[in-house]
């Protein structure tokens, strides 16, 4: 699965151990989750989701560098592109909700039920 004779990892990258990246991205991800779960402002929830996405991106880039495998970085580019599209659509929805209800509290959106 991994390249057999991978090129050596550059010295400058090894200055920061992989563990630090893991801790950082985990922290970011958990902050994102907590944000999504606790905040009621739709825009803040949205930002928290972006935070989670970027935590994953960071992790992917870190692994990619430490394994000398560019596939992870390619993934990151795709995620960024998709996230940009998602932001465009998502923000548009939020704007529309605001125009209709004069509020961006997600507690207001409780019609999707039995």
């Amino acid at each position: 699965m991994f390249p057999q004779n991978a090129p050596p990892i550059p010295q400058v990258i090894q200055l920061i151990p992989l563990q630090s990246y893991l801790w950082l991205s985990t922290a970011l991800f958990v902050i994102g989750i907590v944000g999504v779960l606790t905040r009621r402002n739709a825009i803040v929830v949205f930002m928290s989701i972006e935070l989670m996405l970027n935590a994953v991106n960071l992790l992917l880039v870190a692994f990619s560098s430490y394994r000398s495998d560019p596939a992870g970085q390619v993934f990151v580019f795709f995620i960024m592109a998709v996230a940009a599209a998602e932001v465009a659509v998502g923000l548009a929805i939020i704007v529309m909700i605001y125009r209709n209800s004069r509020s961006i509290d997600i507690g207001f959106l409780n019609k999707l039920k039995w």
Binding site: I33, L37, G107, L109, N110, K111, L112, W114
Partner: protein, 638 residues
């Protein structure tokens, strides 16, 4: 012999069935009858050709391998020998005449095309039955004719009684068929093949009285009992008269009901080696002949009389089989096909003229209005009563002569049966055609002779009923027993296997004359008695419910139907009802409670779906966490 033509014999009726069946209501009415009759006539023509080019050797024509399982190989093949040729000629010949007759008889019926389609389908299966070269092909035909019989008895399916009659016939036949099927299985197990020639070759080496052969022959005979209406499975045949009259003539008199006799004659080697079975066959045949004839004495429905007469005559044929007089049985099958088909068609002509009246108490004096029908009916009556020189005399007398050699008491009872035969047939004739008309004025005005398409078959069959007997004139009357000689090769195997069975000594001529004289005088006396009763004294059978004593018992058919109803049908029905309600409780209860459980739990579960987005997200996070812990927990908490 041109074997490729052979395939056409069953194929033509099948083609007729497909055209008339698929094109029902689309084929013009004038064409339907022509197509149906042409199919039958074509088959008859080819049968004649095959007969003329037959060389005396059994020919097996294999079409394709049908079933191959391990060492068992069942081919789809036909066998042409003396027996199948005779049956072919009878089935297609009488069948063609009845097809032509139906063009006239059924012309007013809305389902004209359906009728011809079914008739052709019946012919197809009947031809398979008699042409097959093994028991499995015979079984296909056997089941197929049963199906067609069911379809045609219930042809007027808007009448509940007719449908019940059809079901009764089908179920009783199924009981017999089960026996037949078990017999085939036993043959496969014993001989490893179902081909006639191979089975009989192997069987010929077995000893007389072999228990396995006894079981096989008994099981096969159970099948014959059902199809050929013998005690105890005979009650369906009188009810089968619910069908249109040509059906009664073709299926329930001339061809299908003789399938049982054909089957026993076909398996003559097996039966020759099982004398005990033959004894049972003979006794049951005699009992059936007597019982049915006695019931026939008091019936008032013109077709019912003929139906019981058919059962009784079939009894005679089985009696002949029981005393190993195979060729006599076949002879009677042929002559009976002529005169009984004629009687039924004549009855149909009467019913047609009487606007669907079937009660002979409302007829009388029809001979002037229906001269052709009367003459042909008279000929058939004389023929079936056994008065020389008509067909029935020769065949019945031959059977009685063989029975006499076998057992004197059986002979006496057989003659008693033939007295009854003669009496009820002349009673029917006198009540229908002589005396004064007893129907309504409307019926009297409507009386008319049938169209040519109906009288032509009557005339042809009448001629055959007159001369049919001459194909097998016994030596004592200066004949050559031509039919018996023709069929001789069929029984060679049986004679080698069990010579004792066929050594019955030679009757001297004076005895033969005596036997003939007794049966002829008996028939004439019965005829005279009927004449005195129904013409001189002008007696008319009592109205329903007026009978008394023994007459009442016999008029009600010895209450056999009621007995079966009480012993078999009702308990079975009760059992089914019980099982039904039990099944309803268990199955329906189970299904319903499962549904209710799902509905209830779903009602409870859906409360979770609150619509709160944050709750959904929370549930999702919890779920993903749980999944991760489930999968990777072992690594984490090592």
């Amino acid at each position: 012999m041109n074997t490729s033509l052979l395939i056409l014999i069953p194929l033509l009726p099948l083609l007729g069935f497909l055209i008339n069946g698929i094109g029902f209501r689309h084929v013009p009415k004038s064409l339907v009858g022509v197509i149906g009759s042409a199919a039958a006539l074509g088959a008859f023509g080819i049968s004649l050709y095959i007969w003329s080019s037959f060389e005396g050797q059994a020919v097996v024509v294999s079409l394709f391998d049908w079933i191959t399982v391990g060492p068992l190989n069942i081919a789809f093949s036909f066998q042409i020998d003396q027996l199948s040729l005779l049956m072919l000629l009878v089935v297609t010949g009488v069948g063609s005449l009845i097809h032509i007759y139906s063009i006239g008889y059924m012309s007013h019926d809305a389902a004209f095309g359906k009728f011809f389609a079914f008739l052709n389908l019946f012919l197809f299966f009947m031809l398979l039955l008699v042409m097959g070269s093994n028991y499995v092909i015979m079984f296909i035909g056997w089941e197929g004719v049963g199906l067609c019989s069911y379809l045609l008895i219930g042809f007027w399916n808007k009448v509940t009684n007719y449908n019940n009659a059809a079901r009764k016939a089908f179920i009783m036949n199924r009981i017999g068929d089960l026996g037949f099927l078990l017999g085939i299985f036993l043959i496969i197990q014993t001989f490893g093949t179902v081909e006639y020639l191979q089975v009989f070759d192997q069987a010929a080496g077995m000893s007389v009285g072999n228990a396995t052969l006894g079981a096989i022959t008994l099981l096969l005979f159970v099948g014959a009992m059902g199809k050929s209406a013998q005690i105890p499975l005979y009650t369906w045949l009188p009810d089968a008269m619910a069908g249109p009259t040509p059906v009664s003539a073709l299926i329930h008199a001339a061809t299908m009901v003789t399938a049982g006799i054909y089957m026993v004659v076909r398996s003559n080697v097996l039966y020759a080696l099982a004398p005990d079975t033959l004894e049972i066959v003979g006794i049951l045949g005699l009992a059936t002949a007597l019982m049915a004839a006695s019931i026939g004495l008091f019936q008032n429905d013109i077709k019912k009389v003929l139906a019981y007469s058919t059962v009784s005559q079939l009894g005679y044929m089985f009696m002949a089989l029981g005393v190993a007089a195979y060729s006599s049985a076949m002879f009677h099958v042929i002559t009976h096909a002529f005169f009984k088909a004629l009687l039924f068609l004549g009855a149909g002509s009467v019913i047609h003229a009487m606007s669907n009246e079937q009660d002979i108490r409302n007829m009388g004096g029809l001979r002037k209005k229906l001269p052709v029908t009367f003459l042909t009916f008279l000929i058939a009556t004389i023929a079936i009563s056994g008065i020389p020189p008509f067909a029935g005399f020769f065949s019945k007398d031959e059977i009685l002569a063989h029975v006499y050699q076998h057992n004197k008491l059986m002979w006496v009872l057989g003659v008693a049966g033939s007295i009854m035969t003669s009496f009820y047939m002349f009673r029917l004739l006198f009540l229908t055609f002589f005396g004064d008309f007893r129907g309504t004025p409307a019926q009297a005005n409507h009386l008319h002779e049938s169209p040519a398409s109906m009288t032509l078959p009557l005339v042809v069959l009448a001629v055959l009923s007159v001369i049919g007997g001459f194909m097998n004139v016994p030596h004592v009357l200066g004949g050559h027993s031509a039919l018996a000689t023709f069929m001789e090769p069929l029984f060679e195997g049986a004679k080698r296997a069990n010579p004792a069975l066929f050594e019955r000594g030679h009757l001297d001529h004076s005895t033969e004359y005596m036997l003939m004289g007794v049966s002829v005088v008996a028939a004439l006396i019965a005829m005279g008695a009927a004449y005195v009763l129904f013409i001189s004294k002008k007696a008319i059978p009592a109205a329903d419910g007026q009978e008394s004593g023994l007459q009442k018992v016999i008029y009600n058919k010895y209450y056999v139907d009621e007995l079966y109803e009480a012993v078999f049908v009702n308990p079975m029905r009760k059992l089914s009802d019980a099982l039904y309600s039990f099944g309803e409780f268990i199955v329906d209860g189970g299904a319903k409670s499962a549904g209710a459980l799902v509905k209830f739990s779903a009602g409870q579960l859906r409360q979770i779906q609150t619509g709160e987005t944050s709750f959904y997200v929370f549930a999702m996070v919890v779920g993903i966490t749980a999944l991760l812990l489930w999968n990777f927990g072992s690594i984490l908490f090592k």
